[in-house]
Protein backbone atom coordinates (compact mmCIF):
# COMPACT_ATOMS: atom_id res chain seq x y z
CA UNK A 1 0.00 0.00 0.00
CA UNK A 2 1.40 3.34 -1.00
CA UNK A 3 1.34 6.54 0.97
CA UNK A 4 -1.92 8.36 0.35
CA UNK A 5 -1.88 11.85 -1.09
CA UNK A 6 -4.87 14.19 -1.15
CA UNK A 7 -7.18 11.64 0.29
CA UNK A 8 -8.35 9.97 3.44
CA UNK A 9 -6.54 7.21 5.27
CA UNK A 10 -8.39 5.19 7.88
CA UNK A 11 -6.42 3.11 10.35
CA UNK A 12 -7.69 0.67 12.96
CA UNK A 13 -5.34 -0.54 15.68
CA UNK A 14 -6.40 -3.35 17.98
CA UNK A 15 -4.91 -5.61 20.62
CA UNK A 16 -4.88 -6.34 24.34
CA UNK A 17 -5.03 -3.57 26.90
CA UNK A 18 -1.43 -2.79 27.91
CA UNK A 19 0.13 -3.46 24.50
CA UNK A 20 0.27 0.23 23.69
CA UNK A 21 -2.59 0.20 21.20
CA UNK A 22 -3.86 3.68 22.10
CA UNK A 23 -0.33 5.08 22.23
CA UNK A 24 0.41 3.72 18.77
CA UNK A 25 -2.74 5.41 17.48
CA UNK A 26 -1.85 8.69 19.13
CA UNK A 27 1.59 8.64 17.56
CA UNK A 28 0.08 8.15 14.10
CA UNK A 29 -2.38 10.96 14.84
CA UNK A 30 0.42 13.33 15.88
CA UNK A 31 2.35 12.37 12.76
CA UNK A 32 -0.71 13.29 10.70
CA UNK A 33 -0.81 16.71 12.31
CA UNK A 34 2.87 17.25 11.45
CA UNK A 35 2.04 16.38 7.83
CA UNK A 36 -0.62 19.08 7.82
CA UNK A 37 -3.55 16.68 7.75
CA UNK A 38 -6.86 16.78 9.55
CA UNK A 39 -6.82 14.09 12.18
CA UNK A 40 -9.22 12.20 14.43
CA UNK A 41 -8.33 9.60 17.05
CA UNK A 42 -11.10 7.65 18.71
CA UNK A 43 -10.40 5.06 21.42
CA UNK A 44 -12.57 2.24 22.63
CA UNK A 45 -13.35 3.29 26.17
CA UNK A 46 -15.37 0.39 27.44
CA UNK A 47 -14.62 -1.76 30.49
CA UNK A 48 -12.54 -3.88 28.10
CA UNK A 49 -9.80 -1.24 28.50
CA UNK A 50 -8.97 -2.80 31.84
CA UNK A 51 -7.21 -5.91 30.64
CA UNK A 52 -9.39 -6.99 27.73
CA UNK A 53 -9.24 -5.89 24.13
CA UNK A 54 -8.47 -2.31 23.25
CA UNK A 55 -8.73 -0.57 19.93
CA UNK A 56 -8.54 2.87 18.43
CA UNK A 57 -9.49 4.41 15.13
CA UNK A 58 -7.33 7.04 13.46
CA UNK A 59 -8.31 9.04 10.39
CA UNK A 60 -5.86 11.24 8.49
CA UNK A 61 -7.33 13.38 5.76
CA UNK A 62 -6.76 16.42 3.59
CA UNK A 63 -10.51 17.10 3.80
CA UNK A 64 -12.57 18.00 6.87
CA UNK A 65 -13.34 14.72 8.66
CA UNK A 66 -16.97 13.81 9.21
CA UNK A 67 -17.48 10.68 11.26
CA UNK A 68 -14.43 9.66 13.34
CA UNK A 69 -15.60 6.06 13.30
CA UNK A 70 -13.64 3.63 11.16
CA UNK A 71 -15.80 0.78 9.91
CA UNK A 72 -13.75 -0.15 6.86
CA UNK A 73 -10.08 0.52 7.59
CA UNK A 74 -7.47 1.01 4.89
CA UNK A 75 -4.95 -0.35 7.35
CA UNK A 76 -5.45 -2.77 10.24
CA UNK A 77 -2.71 -3.14 12.82
CA UNK A 78 -3.60 -6.28 14.80
CA UNK A 79 -1.63 -7.06 17.94
CA UNK A 80 -3.42 -10.27 18.89
CA UNK A 81 -5.50 -13.04 17.33
CA UNK A 82 -8.94 -11.88 18.51
CA UNK A 83 -8.28 -8.49 16.89
CA UNK A 84 -7.18 -10.04 13.61
CA UNK A 85 -10.17 -12.37 13.57
CA UNK A 86 -12.63 -9.62 14.41
CA UNK A 87 -11.43 -6.91 12.09
CA UNK A 88 -9.80 -8.52 9.05
CA UNK A 89 -13.12 -8.92 7.20
CA UNK A 90 -13.63 -5.16 7.45
CA UNK A 91 -10.34 -4.10 5.82
CA UNK A 92 -11.13 -2.61 2.44
CA UNK A 93 -9.92 -4.41 -0.67
CA UNK A 94 -6.44 -3.25 -1.57
CA UNK A 95 -5.79 -2.27 2.03
CA UNK A 96 -3.15 -3.59 4.38
CA UNK A 97 -2.99 -5.80 7.44
CA UNK A 98 0.03 -5.52 9.71
CA UNK A 99 0.14 -7.99 12.59
CA UNK A 100 2.33 -9.40 15.32
CA UNK A 101 3.30 -12.85 14.07
CA UNK A 102 4.81 -13.74 17.46
CA UNK A 103 1.36 -13.73 19.00
CA UNK A 104 -0.80 -14.55 16.00
CA UNK A 105 -0.09 -17.91 14.47
CA UNK A 106 -2.90 -17.88 11.92
CA UNK A 107 -2.40 -16.08 8.62
CA UNK A 108 -5.11 -13.67 7.52
CA UNK A 109 -7.52 -15.29 5.07
CA UNK A 110 -7.74 -12.20 2.92
CA UNK A 111 -6.00 -12.35 -0.46
CA UNK A 112 -6.98 -8.91 -1.69
CA UNK A 113 -4.89 -6.98 0.82
CA UNK A 114 -1.21 -6.54 1.55
CA UNK A 115 -0.21 -8.59 4.55
CA UNK A 116 2.78 -7.74 6.74
CA UNK A 117 3.56 -10.33 9.36
CA UNK A 118 6.24 -9.17 11.79
CA UNK A 119 7.34 -11.19 14.81
CA UNK A 120 7.18 -7.96 16.76
CA UNK A 121 7.07 -9.34 20.29
CA UNK A 122 10.05 -11.63 19.66
CA UNK A 123 12.05 -8.86 17.97
CA UNK A 124 11.33 -6.53 20.88
CA UNK A 125 12.43 -9.13 23.43
CA UNK A 126 15.60 -9.94 21.46
CA UNK A 127 16.48 -6.25 21.41
CA UNK A 128 15.90 -6.00 25.15
CA UNK A 129 12.87 -3.80 24.58
CA UNK A 130 9.95 -5.75 25.99
CA UNK A 131 6.77 -3.76 25.57
CA UNK A 132 7.84 -1.97 22.41
CA UNK A 133 6.32 -4.44 19.95
CA UNK A 134 3.84 -1.68 19.11
CA UNK A 135 6.70 0.51 17.86
CA UNK A 136 8.07 -2.34 15.76
CA UNK A 137 4.70 -2.66 14.05
CA UNK A 138 4.67 1.11 13.63
CA UNK A 139 7.95 0.78 11.72
CA UNK A 140 6.12 -1.36 9.17
CA UNK A 141 3.24 1.11 9.00
CA UNK A 142 5.63 4.02 8.42
CA UNK A 143 7.46 2.11 5.68
CA UNK A 144 4.29 1.24 3.79
CA UNK A 145 1.62 3.76 4.57
CA UNK A 146 2.88 7.04 5.99
CA UNK A 147 6.25 8.48 5.14
CA UNK A 148 7.86 10.69 7.76
CA UNK A 149 11.31 12.20 7.93
CA UNK A 150 13.39 11.16 10.94
CA UNK A 151 12.89 14.66 12.32
CA UNK A 152 9.11 14.46 11.95
CA UNK A 153 9.12 11.06 13.61
CA UNK A 154 11.09 12.41 16.54
CA UNK A 155 8.71 15.36 16.84
CA UNK A 156 5.68 13.08 16.74
CA UNK A 157 7.21 11.02 19.56
CA UNK A 158 7.97 14.13 21.57
CA UNK A 159 4.32 15.16 21.27
CA UNK A 160 3.05 11.73 22.25
CA UNK A 161 5.40 10.53 24.99
CA UNK A 162 4.56 12.05 28.37
CA UNK A 163 7.30 14.24 29.84
CA UNK A 164 8.18 11.77 32.60
CA UNK A 165 8.90 9.10 29.98
CA UNK A 166 10.89 11.32 27.62
CA UNK A 167 13.98 9.17 28.26
CA UNK A 168 12.26 6.35 26.35
CA UNK A 169 12.13 8.26 23.05
CA UNK A 170 15.46 6.82 21.86
CA UNK A 171 14.30 3.28 22.58
CA UNK A 172 11.09 3.97 20.68
CA UNK A 173 13.05 5.25 17.69
CA UNK A 174 15.25 2.17 17.81
CA UNK A 175 12.23 -0.16 17.87
CA UNK A 176 10.67 1.67 14.91
CA UNK A 177 13.94 1.25 13.01
CA UNK A 178 13.89 -2.50 13.76
CA UNK A 179 10.38 -2.70 12.33
CA UNK A 180 11.40 -0.87 9.18
CA UNK A 181 14.48 -3.06 8.78
CA UNK A 182 12.49 -6.26 9.27
CA UNK A 183 10.02 -5.16 6.64
CA UNK A 184 12.78 -4.40 4.17
CA UNK A 185 14.20 -7.91 4.73
CA UNK A 186 10.82 -9.59 4.36
CA UNK A 187 9.71 -7.32 1.55
CA UNK A 188 9.74 -9.89 -1.21
CA UNK A 189 7.75 -12.38 0.82
CA UNK A 190 4.79 -10.11 1.41
CA UNK A 191 1.56 -11.12 -0.21
CA UNK A 192 1.11 -8.88 -3.20
CA UNK A 193 -2.36 -7.54 -3.60
CA UNK A 194 -4.42 -6.02 -6.35
CA UNK A 195 -4.76 -2.35 -7.15
CA UNK A 196 -5.78 -0.04 -4.36
CA UNK A 197 -9.39 1.01 -4.62
CA UNK A 198 -10.49 4.61 -4.36
CA UNK A 199 -12.35 5.66 -1.25
CA UNK A 200 -15.29 7.99 -1.22
CA UNK A 201 -15.38 10.94 1.19
Amino acid sequence: MKEQKNTTQQVLIAGFGGQGVLFLGKLIAHAGVLLGKNVTWLPSYGPEMRGGTANCAVILSDEPIGSPIVSEPDVLIAMNLPSLTAYQPRVCAGGEIIYDASLVHESPAREDVTVRALPATRLATEAGMDGLSNMILLGAFLSDCLHLTQEQLRQALEHTVPAHKAHLIEANLHAIAIGKHELALAGQNATVRTERPRRAG
Binding site: V33, V39, T40, L42, G66
Partner: protein, 354 residues
Protein backbone atom coordinates in the same frame (compact mmCIF):
# COMPACT_ATOMS: atom_id res chain seq x y z
CA UNK B 1 -0.98 33.08 16.68
CA UNK B 2 -2.54 30.35 18.76
CA UNK B 3 -1.04 26.89 18.56
CA UNK B 4 -3.12 24.07 17.13
CA UNK B 5 -2.82 20.92 19.21
CA UNK B 6 -4.34 17.46 19.43
CA UNK B 7 -6.60 17.06 22.42
CA UNK B 8 -9.43 14.93 23.68
CA UNK B 9 -12.83 16.61 23.63
CA UNK B 10 -13.20 16.33 27.39
CA UNK B 11 -9.76 17.85 28.01
CA UNK B 12 -10.28 20.67 25.51
CA UNK B 13 -13.52 21.52 27.28
CA UNK B 14 -11.74 21.58 30.63
CA UNK B 15 -8.88 23.80 29.43
CA UNK B 16 -11.36 26.12 27.70
CA UNK B 17 -13.22 26.53 30.99
CA UNK B 18 -10.01 27.69 32.65
CA UNK B 19 -9.29 30.09 29.78
CA UNK B 20 -12.83 31.44 30.20
CA UNK B 21 -12.02 32.36 33.78
CA UNK B 22 -13.70 29.47 35.56
CA UNK B 23 -11.90 28.79 38.84
CA UNK B 24 -14.53 26.60 40.52
CA UNK B 25 -15.16 23.03 39.46
CA UNK B 26 -17.22 20.57 41.47
CA UNK B 27 -17.86 17.08 40.15
CA UNK B 28 -18.08 13.38 40.64
CA UNK B 29 -16.49 10.90 38.21
CA UNK B 30 -18.50 8.95 35.66
CA UNK B 31 -17.62 7.47 32.25
CA UNK B 32 -17.36 8.88 29.60
CA UNK B 33 -16.52 12.33 31.00
CA UNK B 34 -14.07 11.53 33.80
CA UNK B 35 -11.20 13.21 31.92
CA UNK B 36 -12.81 16.59 32.62
CA UNK B 37 -12.40 16.17 36.37
CA UNK B 38 -9.03 14.44 36.04
CA UNK B 39 -7.69 17.28 33.91
CA UNK B 40 -9.03 20.00 36.19
CA UNK B 41 -7.70 18.28 39.30
CA UNK B 42 -4.23 19.02 37.89
CA UNK B 43 -4.92 22.39 36.29
CA UNK B 44 -7.08 24.16 38.87
CA UNK B 45 -4.38 24.21 41.57
CA UNK B 46 -1.91 25.60 38.98
CA UNK B 47 -4.15 28.62 38.33
CA UNK B 48 -5.22 29.13 41.93
CA UNK B 49 -8.66 27.63 41.35
CA UNK B 50 -10.74 25.08 43.19
CA UNK B 51 -11.14 21.47 42.09
CA UNK B 52 -13.37 19.56 44.42
CA UNK B 53 -14.53 15.99 44.01
CA UNK B 54 -17.82 16.05 45.86
CA UNK B 55 -19.37 13.12 47.71
CA UNK B 56 -22.09 12.88 45.06
CA UNK B 57 -23.46 14.53 41.93
CA UNK B 58 -26.17 16.21 44.01
CA UNK B 59 -23.59 17.74 46.33
CA UNK B 60 -21.49 18.88 43.38
CA UNK B 61 -24.24 20.87 41.69
CA UNK B 62 -25.21 22.52 44.96
CA UNK B 63 -21.59 23.57 45.41
CA UNK B 64 -21.93 25.18 41.98
CA UNK B 65 -25.04 26.91 43.32
CA UNK B 66 -23.02 28.26 46.23
CA UNK B 67 -20.11 29.48 44.14
CA UNK B 68 -22.51 31.08 41.68
CA UNK B 69 -24.31 32.88 44.53
CA UNK B 70 -20.96 34.44 45.32
CA UNK B 71 -20.72 35.72 41.73
CA UNK B 72 -18.10 33.23 40.58
CA UNK B 73 -17.96 31.35 37.30
CA UNK B 74 -18.61 27.76 38.36
CA UNK B 75 -19.19 24.47 36.59
CA UNK B 76 -19.94 20.82 37.05
CA UNK B 77 -19.85 17.93 34.61
CA UNK B 78 -21.32 14.47 34.47
CA UNK B 79 -22.90 11.92 32.19
CA UNK B 80 -26.54 10.94 31.85
CA UNK B 81 -27.31 9.11 35.14
CA UNK B 82 -25.33 11.75 37.00
CA UNK B 83 -27.28 14.54 35.31
CA UNK B 84 -30.52 12.98 36.52
CA UNK B 85 -29.12 13.26 40.04
CA UNK B 86 -28.32 16.90 39.40
CA UNK B 87 -31.84 17.73 38.27
CA UNK B 88 -32.81 19.12 41.66
CA UNK B 89 -29.89 21.52 41.48
CA UNK B 90 -30.76 22.55 37.91
CA UNK B 91 -34.22 23.53 39.11
CA UNK B 92 -32.88 25.49 42.10
CA UNK B 93 -30.32 27.31 39.94
CA UNK B 94 -33.13 28.32 37.58
CA UNK B 95 -35.44 29.34 40.44
CA UNK B 96 -32.69 31.51 41.87
CA UNK B 97 -31.69 32.97 38.48
CA UNK B 98 -28.10 31.85 38.91
CA UNK B 99 -25.61 31.41 36.07
CA UNK B 100 -23.87 28.04 35.84
CA UNK B 101 -22.22 25.77 33.32
CA UNK B 102 -23.29 22.12 33.39
CA UNK B 103 -21.75 19.55 31.07
CA UNK B 104 -23.51 16.34 30.05
CA UNK B 105 -21.34 13.94 28.05
CA UNK B 106 -24.21 11.60 27.24
CA UNK B 107 -24.18 7.83 27.56
CA UNK B 108 -26.96 5.40 26.81
CA UNK B 109 -29.94 5.03 29.15
CA UNK B 110 -32.38 4.80 30.75
CA UNK B 111 -31.24 3.84 34.22
CA UNK B 112 -27.58 2.98 34.52
CA UNK B 113 -27.83 2.04 30.84
CA UNK B 114 -24.42 1.67 29.24
CA UNK B 115 -21.29 3.72 28.82
CA UNK B 116 -21.31 4.06 25.04
CA UNK B 117 -22.31 7.32 23.32
CA UNK B 118 -25.93 8.39 23.13
CA UNK B 119 -28.15 11.43 22.61
CA UNK B 120 -31.10 10.24 24.60
CA UNK B 121 -31.10 13.10 27.12
CA UNK B 122 -32.38 15.56 24.51
CA UNK B 123 -35.78 16.13 26.09
CA UNK B 124 -34.34 16.27 29.60
CA UNK B 125 -31.82 18.92 28.52
CA UNK B 126 -34.00 21.08 26.27
CA UNK B 127 -37.03 21.12 28.58
CA UNK B 128 -35.10 22.13 31.67
CA UNK B 129 -34.54 18.78 33.29
CA UNK B 130 -36.05 19.47 36.70
CA UNK B 131 -39.34 20.46 38.27
CA UNK B 132 -40.93 23.81 37.54
CA UNK B 133 -41.04 26.00 34.45
CA UNK B 134 -37.55 26.69 33.22
CA UNK B 135 -35.11 26.30 30.38
CA UNK B 136 -31.37 25.85 30.02
CA UNK B 137 -29.39 27.19 27.11
CA UNK B 138 -28.31 23.91 25.49
CA UNK B 139 -25.18 23.94 23.33
CA UNK B 140 -24.30 20.92 21.19
CA UNK B 141 -20.63 20.61 20.18
CA UNK B 142 -19.86 18.49 17.10
CA UNK B 143 -16.07 18.68 17.33
CA UNK B 144 -13.27 18.99 19.84
CA UNK B 145 -12.93 22.62 18.73
CA UNK B 146 -16.55 23.26 19.65
CA UNK B 147 -16.12 21.48 22.99
CA UNK B 148 -13.78 24.39 23.71
CA UNK B 149 -15.52 27.29 21.98
CA UNK B 150 -19.06 26.44 23.13
CA UNK B 151 -17.86 26.05 26.72
CA UNK B 152 -16.55 29.59 26.56
CA UNK B 153 -19.75 30.84 24.93
CA UNK B 154 -21.73 28.96 27.56
CA UNK B 155 -20.10 30.83 30.43
CA UNK B 156 -20.79 34.17 28.74
CA UNK B 157 -24.41 33.32 28.00
CA UNK B 158 -24.99 31.99 31.50
CA UNK B 159 -23.72 35.22 33.04
CA UNK B 160 -25.58 37.45 30.60
CA UNK B 161 -28.98 35.79 31.03
CA UNK B 162 -28.54 34.52 34.60
CA UNK B 163 -29.33 30.92 33.71
CA UNK B 164 -27.71 27.53 33.28
CA UNK B 165 -25.88 26.84 30.04
CA UNK B 166 -25.60 23.15 29.38
CA UNK B 167 -23.06 21.55 27.08
CA UNK B 168 -24.89 18.54 25.65
CA UNK B 169 -22.15 16.34 24.25
CA UNK B 170 -21.75 12.60 23.89
CA UNK B 171 -19.18 9.90 24.59
CA UNK B 172 -17.67 10.06 21.12
CA UNK B 173 -17.03 13.79 21.02
CA UNK B 174 -15.78 13.64 24.62
CA UNK B 175 -13.38 10.76 24.05
CA UNK B 176 -12.05 11.56 20.59
CA UNK B 177 -8.94 13.58 19.87
CA UNK B 178 -8.66 16.06 17.05
CA UNK B 179 -7.05 19.38 16.34
CA UNK B 180 -8.08 22.29 18.49
CA UNK B 181 -6.94 25.89 18.72
CA UNK B 182 -7.46 27.14 22.24
CA UNK B 183 -8.23 30.82 22.34
CA UNK B 184 -8.02 32.96 25.40
CA UNK B 185 -11.33 34.73 25.06
CA UNK B 186 -12.18 38.10 26.50
CA UNK B 187 -15.05 37.08 28.77
CA UNK B 188 -18.08 39.31 28.48
CA UNK B 189 -17.90 41.24 31.70
CA UNK B 190 -21.27 41.16 33.34
CA UNK B 191 -21.89 43.08 36.52
CA UNK B 192 -23.37 40.86 39.22
CA UNK B 193 -24.90 43.37 41.66
CA UNK B 194 -27.09 40.56 43.01
CA UNK B 195 -24.15 38.40 44.14
CA UNK B 196 -23.49 37.58 47.78
CA UNK B 197 -20.14 39.25 48.19
CA UNK B 198 -20.53 40.81 51.60
CA UNK B 199 -22.16 44.20 52.15
CA UNK B 200 -19.13 45.70 53.88
CA UNK B 201 -21.77 47.58 55.86
CA UNK B 202 -22.30 49.81 52.82
CA UNK B 203 -25.40 48.39 51.15
CA UNK B 204 -28.56 46.46 51.75
CA UNK B 205 -27.98 42.74 51.89
CA UNK B 206 -28.64 40.67 48.78
CA UNK B 207 -30.86 37.60 48.94
CA UNK B 208 -30.58 34.72 46.49
CA UNK B 209 -33.46 32.28 46.81
CA UNK B 210 -35.89 30.16 44.84
CA UNK B 211 -38.53 30.28 47.59
CA UNK B 212 -41.46 32.64 47.02
CA UNK B 213 -44.49 31.81 49.10
CA UNK B 214 -46.66 34.54 47.61
CA UNK B 215 -48.25 33.20 44.40
CA UNK B 216 -48.38 36.66 42.86
CA UNK B 217 -44.73 37.29 43.52
CA UNK B 218 -43.76 33.82 42.25
CA UNK B 219 -45.82 34.29 39.09
CA UNK B 220 -44.07 37.59 38.48
CA UNK B 221 -40.68 35.86 38.93
CA UNK B 222 -41.63 33.20 36.38
CA UNK B 223 -42.92 35.74 33.86
CA UNK B 224 -39.80 37.90 34.16
CA UNK B 225 -37.68 34.78 33.64
CA UNK B 226 -39.61 33.82 30.54
CA UNK B 227 -39.28 37.34 29.14
CA UNK B 228 -35.55 36.78 29.41
CA UNK B 229 -35.87 33.36 27.73
CA UNK B 230 -37.63 35.13 24.86
CA UNK B 231 -34.59 37.36 24.44
CA UNK B 232 -32.37 34.27 24.35
CA UNK B 233 -34.56 32.76 21.62
CA UNK B 234 -34.36 35.96 19.57
CA UNK B 235 -30.65 36.59 19.95
CA UNK B 236 -28.80 33.38 20.66
CA UNK B 237 -30.25 30.70 18.37
CA UNK B 238 -27.41 29.20 16.35
CA UNK B 239 -27.00 26.52 13.71
CA UNK B 240 -24.76 25.50 10.82
CA UNK B 241 -26.19 25.01 7.33
CA UNK B 242 -24.30 22.48 5.18
CA UNK B 243 -25.09 22.13 1.45
CA UNK B 244 -28.49 23.76 2.03
CA UNK B 245 -28.56 26.19 -0.95
CA UNK B 246 -30.69 23.92 -3.15
CA UNK B 247 -31.41 21.06 -0.74
CA UNK B 248 -34.57 19.00 -1.21
CA UNK B 249 -33.71 16.46 1.47
CA UNK B 250 -32.70 18.09 4.73
CA UNK B 251 -31.00 16.21 7.56
CA UNK B 252 -31.24 17.62 11.06
CA UNK B 253 -28.52 16.31 13.33
CA UNK B 254 -26.28 17.48 16.17
CA UNK B 255 -23.11 16.24 17.87
CA UNK B 256 -21.72 12.91 16.67
CA UNK B 257 -24.84 12.29 14.56
CA UNK B 258 -24.04 15.45 12.62
CA UNK B 259 -20.52 14.16 11.94
CA UNK B 260 -21.96 10.95 10.52
CA UNK B 261 -24.62 12.88 8.59
CA UNK B 262 -22.01 15.10 7.03
CA UNK B 263 -20.44 12.03 5.36
CA UNK B 264 -23.88 10.88 4.21
CA UNK B 265 -24.76 14.29 2.72
CA UNK B 266 -21.44 14.38 0.83
CA UNK B 267 -22.03 10.84 -0.47
CA UNK B 268 -25.57 11.75 -1.53
CA UNK B 269 -24.33 14.86 -3.34
CA UNK B 270 -21.80 12.68 -5.15
CA UNK B 271 -24.77 10.64 -6.39
CA UNK B 272 -26.58 13.77 -7.57
CA UNK B 273 -29.09 13.88 -4.71
CA UNK B 274 -29.80 17.36 -3.42
CA UNK B 275 -29.20 16.67 0.25
CA UNK B 276 -28.21 19.15 2.92
CA UNK B 277 -28.01 19.44 6.67
CA UNK B 278 -29.06 21.92 9.29
CA UNK B 279 -26.98 21.26 12.39
CA UNK B 280 -28.39 22.89 15.50
CA UNK B 281 -25.58 24.38 17.59
CA UNK B 282 -28.13 25.53 20.15
CA UNK B 283 -30.71 22.81 20.89
CA UNK B 284 -32.52 25.26 23.12
CA UNK B 285 -33.29 27.62 21.64
CA UNK B 286 -33.95 25.28 18.70
CA UNK B 287 -33.40 26.80 15.23
CA UNK B 288 -37.12 26.58 14.44
CA UNK B 289 -37.18 29.68 12.22
CA UNK B 290 -34.40 28.28 10.02
CA UNK B 291 -36.30 25.00 9.64
CA UNK B 292 -39.56 26.80 8.88
CA UNK B 293 -37.74 28.77 6.20
CA UNK B 294 -36.13 25.61 4.81
CA UNK B 295 -39.52 23.90 4.65
CA UNK B 296 -40.45 26.26 1.79
CA UNK B 297 -38.08 24.39 -0.52
CA UNK B 298 -37.16 21.17 1.29
CA UNK B 299 -39.38 18.21 0.42
CA UNK B 300 -38.43 15.82 3.18
CA UNK B 301 -36.70 16.14 6.56
CA UNK B 302 -34.69 13.42 8.27
CA UNK B 303 -34.06 13.54 12.00
CA UNK B 304 -30.76 11.75 12.54
CA UNK B 305 -30.44 11.25 16.27
CA UNK B 306 -29.27 8.67 18.81
CA UNK B 307 -32.62 8.74 20.59
CA UNK B 308 -36.12 7.52 19.81
CA UNK B 309 -37.41 10.62 18.03
CA UNK B 310 -36.92 13.11 20.84
CA UNK B 311 -35.53 15.77 18.49
CA UNK B 312 -37.95 14.78 15.72
CA UNK B 313 -40.73 16.31 17.83
CA UNK B 314 -39.03 19.70 17.66
CA UNK B 315 -38.57 19.40 13.90
CA UNK B 316 -42.26 18.60 13.41
CA UNK B 317 -43.20 21.56 15.57
CA UNK B 318 -40.85 23.84 13.64
CA UNK B 319 -42.19 22.89 10.20
CA UNK B 320 -45.77 22.64 11.54
CA UNK B 321 -45.94 19.12 10.03
CA UNK B 322 -46.05 20.63 6.52
CA UNK B 323 -43.35 18.23 5.35
CA UNK B 324 -42.71 14.60 6.16
CA UNK B 325 -40.12 14.02 8.86
CA UNK B 326 -38.47 10.60 9.04
CA UNK B 327 -36.57 9.31 12.04
CA UNK B 328 -33.13 7.79 11.42
CA UNK B 329 -31.90 6.57 14.74
CA UNK B 330 -29.93 4.17 16.83
CA UNK B 331 -29.99 3.94 20.59
CA UNK B 332 -28.31 2.03 23.38
CA UNK B 333 -24.82 3.21 22.45
CA UNK B 334 -24.99 2.25 18.78
CA UNK B 335 -23.88 4.97 16.36
CA UNK B 336 -25.57 5.25 12.94
CA UNK B 337 -23.25 4.60 10.01
CA UNK B 338 -22.96 7.01 7.07
CA UNK B 339 -24.12 4.17 4.81
CA UNK B 340 -27.45 3.71 6.55
CA UNK B 341 -28.06 7.45 6.70
CA UNK B 342 -27.32 7.59 2.97
CA UNK B 343 -29.85 4.81 2.43
CA UNK B 344 -32.47 6.87 4.29
CA UNK B 345 -31.61 9.88 2.13
CA UNK B 346 -32.02 7.80 -1.04
CA UNK B 347 -35.41 6.49 0.12
CA UNK B 348 -36.58 10.01 0.95
CA UNK B 349 -35.37 11.24 -2.45
CA UNK B 350 -37.33 8.48 -4.20
CA UNK B 351 -40.46 9.38 -2.28
CA UNK B 352 -39.97 13.07 -2.98
CA UNK B 353 -39.65 12.34 -6.70
CA UNK B 354 -43.02 10.53 -6.87
Amino acid sequence: MQETILMKGNEALAEAAILAGCRHYFGYPITPQTEIGAYLSKRMPEVGGVFLQAESEIAAIHMVYGASCAGKRAMTSSSSPGISLKSEGLSYLAGSDLPALVVNVQRAGPGLGGIQPSQSDYMQATRGGGHGDFRNIVLAPASVQEMASLTQRGFDLADEYRMTAMILSDGTIGQMMEQVTLETPVPKLVEKPWALTGTGGKREKNIVTSLYLSPKELEEKNLTRFARYKLVEERETDYEAFCMEDAEICLIAYGISARVSRNAVSAARAKGIRAGMIRPITLWPFPSAALKQAAKTVKHFLSVEMSMGQMMTDIELAVRCTRPVTLVSHVGGVIPTPEEVLLAIERAAEEAAV
